[in-house]
């Protein structure tokens, strides 16, 4: 706060014109327009008539949207859960003074450097029933092996989860490993002296102490899940049928090929809801912790 200068410096304002334009023009006015158009009957071009909640009624009566919403829950819970648990396990195992730590870290993290389009295409091939994992197993003599999630309406979404975990668990590991290394080594030593088994030390002592890293990894995963688009396009194209549609795919499809902007904007507004809820929770938790810290001081 000592750095705060309330004096109005014109150079500073001119220097931050791009920031002002983006903050106000894109994030305030842009979102306001999205919200506004969700109450209109916009088709290919924006309309300015008011039709009330009609787009929302239509949205929640649409099978495709309902499938999208249930998919984002399945995909989100499994991917976020998988990435957090797998990432934590990798971080703990990496913390055991292993040889070749740098090499292993590179291996776990390289998928994150690649485009989700690339990731999606690679897994699409690996899971192809005629050329991928399944046929390889058959050639090795395991002829009853059946693993082709992408071609089945009921399992395609789980194929996406596999790719999501492959791409994202390395990042969780990197963030959590940083959190783990940030814990005072005296604490871990003390637990060892007390004869507490390592798994209990990590679960009940280290885990609560790396709250910052956990929140960072979690929020990062949530944001990525809500916007997931490229992976779906590359891996399944939303199919078979409508079985792997996601809200992000629905919105883009409505404003491009379906030319139903009002509907797309209603869906986009709904996408904003979970993010606002998430941010509010994080904000309230942080605010309460500050209050408590002040009360203790």
């Amino acid at each position: 706060m000592a750095r705060t200068r309330r004096r109005f410096n014109y150079s500073a304002v001119i220097g931050t014109v791009p920031m002002i334009l983006v903050a106000v023009g894109v994030f305030v006015i842009g979102i306001a327009f999205t919200f506004f158009w969700s109450f209109t009957s916009s088709k290919l071009f924006p309309a300015y008539d008011f039709v009330g909640l009609k787009q929302y009624y239509r949205l929640w009566a649409s099978d495709r949207w309902l499938v999208s919403v249930s998919n984002i829950w399945i995909y989100g819970l499994l991917t976020i859960g998988g990435n957090m648990v797998f990432g934590f396990l990798l971080a703990v195992f990496m913390d055991q003074n292993v040889r070749g730590e740098d090499l292993l870290r590179s291996v776990f993290l390289y998928p994150f450097a690649m485009s989700l389009i690339v990731t999606g295409l690679v897994w699409q091939w690996a899971l192809d029933p005629n050329l991928g994992l399944q046929s390889a197993m058959h050639h090795w003599g395991w002829t009853s092996f059946h693993f082709a999630p992408l071609v089945d309406v009921n399992t395609a979404i789980y194929g996406l989860v596999v790719a999501g975990i492959w791409q994202g668990s390395g990042v969780s590991m990197a963030i959590m490993l940083a959190g783990l290394r940030g814990i005072d080594s005296e604490v871990m030593k003390a637990a060892k002296v007390d004869g507490i088994p390592p798994w209990r030390t990590y679960l009940f002592i280290a885990l609560p102490m790396m709250r910052g890293a956990l929140v960072t990894a979690f929020v990062l995963q949530c944001v990525n899940v809500v916007r997931v688009y490229d992976l779906i396009i590359a891996m399944t194209g939303g199919g078979p049928g409508i079985s792997t549609n996601m809200p992000a795919v629905y919105v883009i499809d409505m404003i491009t090929s379906s030319q139903n902007v009002g509907q797309g904007m209603a869906a986009a507004t709904m996408m904003l809801v979970p993010i606002i809820v998430l941010l509010s929770i994080v904000g309230i938790v942080g605010w309460r912790r500050r209050l408590r810290a002040e009360a203790d001081a």
């Binding site: 750095r3 200068r5 150079s11 500073a12 220097g15 931050t16 791009p18 920031m19 002002i20 983006v22 994030f27 842009g30 979102i31 327009f33 999205t34 158009w37 797998f86 990798l90 292993v98 040889r99 590179s106 776990f108 390289y110 450097a113 690649m114 485009s115 989700l116 389009i117 295409l121 690679v122 897994w123 091939w125 690996a126 050329l131 058959h138 990042v171 963030i175 960072t216 990894a217 929020v219 944001v223 990525n224 809500v226 688009y229 490229d230 396009i233 590359a234 809200p247 992000a248 883009i252 404003i255 491009t256 902007v261 904007m265 986009a268 507004t269 996408m271 904003l272 993010i275 941010l279």
Partner: protein
């Protein structure tokens, strides 16, 4: 789990002998087994990509996914680069590669320049309302892109630059701004305030202080910013397909068109070579920058 006694004896032994690699006990075998199995899970797709890209189509159709190529064929690679069809055109990925370069270079320079000026202003020249703007920008980091895409399309249409190179560069600059501003703000907040005060006493204003004092100090954070931006922009698909216009489509869009084309026979070897080529630039950055990449993620983790 090992009995406690064995453990203490072992560590006592180790201390006496000086640092020595930990002995192979059942627990350590378990640790390595877990890590190696995990590493295989991460490496198998890469292995499949490389092996398949070097096979001929008849060999691929046999379905031996994991076998090494019987005879090496580099034709898929030249095909992917020069002859593969993206929709109507059959010039391979090379035009897409050039487009990606033309998009990435200016976007990275522009977004880093703006992000660093923002971070500098927010650290040393906080004017009234600046913090509110920063708050909105941070909120923007969490907004799903799909929420603001349509208003942007309309805005760019009104300005007459929709579907151009300029348009896609501006879009990348916009969406890079929240994270870069945060990055530079946090970096400048850690610099000693005396540095800034000294420049002020010497009579340097906003720009002079920035270019002569802050920019030279910013090398480490700028490396992180370049890594985040180059990989992020190179890997982008959504903005490329919507904002850049067909002749300017980046490599990722062309790759998807080559692979997910509905016409003709699927040439898996060409497709995999094309995939590796598209991933080459970010992977090279990742392997060369190593530690910096991890730092970049940690620093950029707030945005994703």
């Amino acid at each position: 789990m090992r009995p406690i006694g064995a453990k203490t004896r072992e560590s006592a032994h180790r201390e006496a002998e000086g640092p020595k690699p930990p002995r192979l006990s059942p627990a350590r075998i378990g640790i390595y087994a877990f890590l190696i199995v995990s590493a295989l899970f991460f490496l198998i797709p890469l292995y499949i990509m490389v092996v398949t890209s070097l096979k001929t189509m008849p060999e691929i159709r046999l379905g031996h996914l994991f076998n090494l190529p019987a005879e090496l064929s580099f034709k898929p690679w030249t095909d992917a680069w020069l002859h593969a069809c993206t929709g109507r055109d059959c010039f391979g990925l090379s035009p897409g590669f050039m487009n990606s370069v033309k998009i990435t270079v200016p976007s990275v320079i522009l977004s880093i320049l703006i992000g660093s000026i923002n971070g500098y202003a927010l650290s040393f020249w906080r004017y009234k309302g600046a913090n509110l703007l920063f708050g909105i920008l941070l909120f923007g980091a969490f907004v799903p892109y799909q929420v603001v895409i349509y208003p942007l399309i309309i805005g760019f249409r009104i300005m007459g630059i929709y579907s151009t190179m300029t348009c896609i560069i501006i879009v990348h600059t916009i969406f890079g701004m929240p994270i870069l501003t945060l990055l530079y703000r946090n970096f400048y907040a850690g610099l000693p305030i005396e540095l800034f005060k000294a420049a002020r006493v010497d009579g340097a204003g906003f720009w002079k202080t920035f270019f002569y004092v802050m920019v030279p100090m910013s090398v480490p954070i700028t490396i992180v910013a370049i890594i985040i931006q180059v990989t992020g922009i190179w890997n982008d698909f959504l903005f490329g397909i919507i904002f850049s216009g067909r002749p300017n489509w980046p490599m990722t869009v062309q790759l998807n068109n080559i692979v997910n084309t509905t016409t003709g026979v699927r040439e898996y070897n060409v497709n995999m070579a094309a995939t590796i080529l598209t991933a080459a630039v970010p992977l090279a950055i990742y392997f060369i920058s190593g530690r910096w990449f991890v730092r970049g993620i940690a620093a950029g983790a707030v945005k994703g």
